[in-house]
Each structure stands twice: as structure tokens, then as C-alpha cells.
């Protein structure tokens, strides 16, 4: 862990070669039911990210796949091995990473750590889940397995835990049921102009209040859907020739004169169909994760997300950034109440005050602190293993200014993504910076 101050960047310059950058981002559309099998979804997202980066599969020295439950949903294992074979990434080391709903960001963290350590220079990180293969009942059952065994015995599911937290929050802080509805209303509004989102329709507070009860006080529109999809990024170390210019723009130099990128025995000319890099690289300023008790009952307070608090603190400490530098957040709103709990755990609002900021419009795309400009899990969708990477993809698109004006945050420099597992037993916090 590097503790950061303004000088740390320069003092770290010998390590600039090991700095991780995102040079490509891509995802499949998220939808309630994809025709393609899971391995195809992973492949499509990977190709989109590789093409965006202008990197060929043969340049990859690491492939990490994030996925929670391919065995249960798709009766499939060996996803990383299938993917490298299909892509022809024969120079890569390959594996799958799983931490339930944080699998995507955990896979990303593994890739970043490999680059920082010098174990890799070109990494592909892709997350995906295909959930439509299971009936709603079966799907609920698969997801319910991630709670503590004793919680399951008592019938405690994630919606149940979220219901308890929402009940406690509204009661303790005086927020009303209609105020909580403002979270999914905002996230749905943001997804309308997101062409990869699962739901692209506006809803209003009355729609939320009229939707079926799931776990009181939470209703259907407080809860994310089950979704199919995949999302991917290409990571490159500074050693591959990313020039971080002082003016804030950056550039990806071509790899033709870069010995680390070209296999010694390369005889074939790369296919012309591999495009040159389209966009500026985005710097991975920090990514850190932390855990909390598995059983929510063992926590000091049902409203405290210790893992989020710690992952956020560690992520900021590892950089020269503070919460005041953050221009947009992609949070894990699997349930509406989580958006407020995460904002407070990350230190953006005092405990009990995030709800007022939502009501005042602070979290709108044009507000002071935009949250989930891509629609969040609620409206973009939640294909479990893909979610953490889809948050990072959205953050990259926002930082590059590549989203429609209706949901574009104004000139952002720093983005934060928070991917959560279960009801907070694991959390991964990522800080991305435009330069």
C-alpha cells in the first residue's frame, strides 16, 4: 500500500512502467434473455474490449474471467480456458475468479495486481453471467445460496436483509418510502439513453409504490432484475507505451516497436481487421477490496457496511485522491437502500443524510455528485459476474466523454466504482482517473 500525497506520483516514477491503464472497454447489451450461451457472451464482450484497445489476442499475457455460478445457471465450467482457446490467446495465463456478486471487480482487481507486480503487461478481464437459463424460482434459489447457511435455515435471503436494512434506515433517519423510490426513478431515467441497458424506460415514484411488495418496505422496483450479459476491459501496463501527457490527454503508442508486445517468433502479420486504439487510456488509480462478517447479525449495526467503508478507505489511501476529487460514482444498487448505505460508508455523506441528497437532485447526472449515470444494477441490469466490470466500462465511457449528452457527466476526471458481494460480506472499490 502506497500512502499518497501530491509528491507521491513523481517519487513513484520508477514504477510508472507498472502503472495499470485501461485501454479498451466493451460489453454486450444487457438483457433479460440473450440467445447466446455464456461463453459467447464472454467472447463478444472480450472482442469489443480488444478492438477498442487495438490489442490482438496474441498480445495478451493474462486473461481473467469473473463469474459466479456458471455451473448452476449454465452447467458449464472452465470458462477462462474456453475463452483463451476461442480467442487464440495462447500466450496468456488464464483463470476464473469468483466472489459472488463482486466477481467482476474481483477479477479486475486480480488483473490490476498482476500488472502492478510485473507478472503481466497486457491483461483481458471479462465478467459474465447468463441467468435466464434458470426459472425465477431456481434463480432465487441459486442466489439465496450465497447467504450464511444459518441465515438460509431461517429463510433469510438477500431481499430479506435489504428489507430489514430499509426498515431500519427509514425508521432511524426519518426518510419516507417515497424518498427511497427516488433512487430507482433516477437510475431508470439514466438508463433510457444507455443502449446496452436492460430496462430503458422511465418510471415514476407512483410506479415504485404501486409495484408488488418483495420484502417490506421494499417493492419490486427497489430490486435489480436477473440479467444476461458480459462486460470486459483490456489493461495495459505503463511499460507497453502509454504516454501520460501533462496536459491531461493521453495517447497509446503503437506496439510495433515494443519488444514486450511482440512474440519473438512472430511470423504472421496481424490481421488488418484489428483496429487501432480508438480512445485515450484511463488510469487505474487504485483498486482495493475488503470483507465483513458473512452473517449480517454479527455486525454492530444493520446499516453499517464495514467492507465498503474499508475498501473505500484503502482505495483512497493508495492514491493521491480524496472523495472530493470524485466526479461520478457507479454504485451497487442491487436494492435501492444499498445506494444510500454505500454513499455513507464511502464517506460521501454523513450517516443518515444520503437520502436528502438524492431528494435534492445531488445524485442526478447534472447534480454535484452523479450516481449511476448508466442506470445502475436496477436499470442497466445485474448479470452477476458481469456487474463489476460493467460499472468500470460505464466509468471509462464517462471519463472519455463517449456517452449520449442526456446521461453524460460534465467533463469528469475521476470516477469511483463499488462492487458489492452478498449484503456486504465483500466489497471492491475502484478509482479511475482520466490522466
Amino acid at each position: 500500500m502506497t500512502t499518497g500525497d501530491a509528491m507521491a506520483v513523481d517519487e513513484r516514477s520508477p514504477d510508472r512502467d507498472r502503472e495499470p491503464w485501461i485501454t479498451g472497454a466493451g460489453m454486450t447489451p444487457f438483457s433479460g434473455e440473450h440467445d447466446e450461451p455464456l461463453d459467447k457472451l464472454l467472447e463478444n464482450a472480450s472482442l469489443a474490449a480488444l478492438d477498442d484497445a487495438g490489442v490482438g489476442p496474441e498480445q495478451l499475457d493474462l486473461v481473467v474471467v469473473g463469474n459466479m455460478a456458471a455451473e448452476a445457471f449454465s452447467r458449464q465450467s472452465g470458462l477462462a480456458n474456453i475463452l483463451v482457446g476461442s480467442l487464440g490467446a495462447y500466450g496468456a495465463s488464464a483463470r476464473r475468479v469468483e466472489s459472488t456478486s463482486a466477481s467482476g471487480a474481483s477479477a479486475f482487481e486480480s488483473g490490476v495486481r498482476a500488472l502492478r507486480s510485473g507478472a503481466a503487461d497486457y491483461a483481458l478481464v471479462v465478467g459474465g453471467e447468463k441467468m435466464s437459463t434458470a426459472s425465477t424460482a431456481r434463480s432465487t434459489e441459486i442466489v439465496s445460496r450465497i447467504t450464511h447457511r444459518r441465515e438460509r435455515e431461517q429463510g433469510v435471503t438477500l431481499p430479506g436483509l435489504a428489507g430489514l436494512a430499509a426498515d431500519a434506515y427509514l425508521d432511524r433517519y426519518g426518510a419516507g418510502r417515497e424518498e427511497l423510490a427516488r433512487v430507482p426513478v433516477k437510475n431508470h431515467r439514466n438508463a433510457v439513453e444507455n443502449e446496452v441497458a436492460h430496462f430503458r424506460k422511465r418510471i415514476d415514484v407512483d410506479d415504485v409504490i404501486a409495484s408488488p411488495l418483495i420484502a417490506e418496505p421494499l417493492r419490486l422496483y427497489d430490486c435489480c432484475p436477473t440479467t444476461d450479459g458480459a462486460a470486459a476491459v483490456v489493461l495495459q501496463s505503463g511499460a507497453t507505451g502509454i504516454d501520460n501527457r501533462a496536459d491531461g490527454a493521453n495517447d497509446l503508442t503503437t506496439t510495433s516497436d515494443d519488444a514486450t508486445a511482440t512474440p519473438d517468433d512472430a511470423t504472421a502479420t496481424p490481421d488488418d481487421s484489428i483496429p487501432t486504439p480508438r480512445s485515450a487510456a484511463v488510469r487505474v488509480a487504485g483498486v482495493e477490496s475488503a470483507v465483513d462478517t458473512h452473517a449480517v447479525g454479527d455486525r454492530p449495526d444493520v446499516l453499517s457496511l464495514g467492507s465498503v467503508e474499508r475498501a473505500g478507505m484503502l482505495a483512497f489511501e493508495s492514491t493521491d485522491l480524496t472523495p472530493g476529487d470524485v466526479d461520478l460514482l457507479c454504485l451497487h444498487d442491487a436494492f435501492s437502500i444499498l445506494e444510500w448505505l454505500e454513499l455513507e460508508a464511502l464517506g460521501f455523506h454523513d450517516h443518515g443524510s444520503a437520502w436528502e441528497a438524492t431528494v435534492e437532485g445531488v445524485h442526478d447526472v447534472d447534480g454535484a455528485l452523479p450516481v449511476n449515470p448508466g442506470g445502475g444494477l436496477k436499470a442497466r441490469g445485474h448479470p452477476i459476474g458481469a456487474t463489476g466490470l460493467s460499472q468500470i466500462v460505464e466509468a471509462v465511457w464517462q471519463l472519455r466523454g463517449e456517452v449520449p449528452a442526456e446521461r453524460a457527466v460534465a467533463n469528469p476526471s475521476v470516477a469511483l466504482a463499488l462492487n458489492l458481494a452478498g449484503f456486504g460480506n465483500n466489497a471492491v472499490c475502484t478509482l479511475l482517473s482520466r490522466s
Binding site: 455451473e71 448452476a72 424460482a137 432465487t140 434459489e141 441459486i142 439465496s144 445460496r145 450464511h148 447457511r149 444459518r150 441465515e151 438460509r152 435455515e153 431461517q154 429463510g155 433469510v156 435471503t157 431481499p159 430479506g160 428489507g163 430489514l164 436494512a165 430499509a166 426498515d167 431500519a168 425508521d171 408488488p212 411488495l213 418483495i214 420484502a215 417490506e216 418496505p217 421494499l218 458473512h294 452473517a295 449480517v296 447479525g297 454479527d298 444493520v302
Partner: protein, 90 residues
């Protein structure tokens, strides 16, 4: 977890713990576990006591507490009563 015995002769078609899911939902008083070394009480059974690293626990009945949050769950997995009232007690 006695229901695990029921299908011990059936081949497992899924590596996940189906039997645990099929276990009946407890309607009795929840048990806690108490660390035999430091006597700290934990909500659920666990391998290691975070307080003292102790590995021996005994089941202890829960005591009366205050309900700090409540919910009624209207969508539950198969085998779980619906609707289901849940409370968090401190």
C-alpha cells in the same frame, strides 16, 4: 441439517449444497454460539473466534432482545413459507 441424510444414496448432480437449501426453515428460537475460551457470543456458528482465535464453541439459546428492524418477505425460495416475517434483534 438432518434432511441431508434423506438423499445420501442419491447421486449428486450439482456440486452445490441442495440439501442445505431444502432444510426446513427454523421457527424456533435461534441458537447462538458462545466461544468456550473468551465467552464472546456470536450470531451464527463459525470456525474461528475473531476475538481470541478460539476454535471451540457451544450452542447457547438466544435471549430476549429488542427488535431493531423488521420486514415481511413476499418472495421466498422454494420450501420457505411465504410471506415470511423477519426481525433483526439486538
Amino acid at each position: 441439517m438432518n434432511s441431508k441424510q434423506a438423499d445420501e444414496n442419491s447421486p449428486r448432480t450439482d456440486h452445490l449444497d441442495e440439501a442445505a437449501l431444502d432444510a426446513p426453515v427454523s421457527t424456533e428460537t435461534a441458537d447462538f454460539v458462545t466461544c468456550e475460551n473468551c465467552k464472546r457470543v456470536w450470531y451464527y456458528d463459525r470456525a474461528v473466534c475473531p476475538n481470541c482465535r478460539g476454535r471451540s464453541f457451544e450452542r447457547t439459546p438466544s435471549e430476549q432482545g429488542t427488535v431493531v428492524a423488521r420486514t415481511t418477505v413476499h418472495v421466498t425460495p422454494d420450501g420457505v413459507p411465504q410471506p415470511l416475517d423477519l426481525g433483526l434483534v439486538s
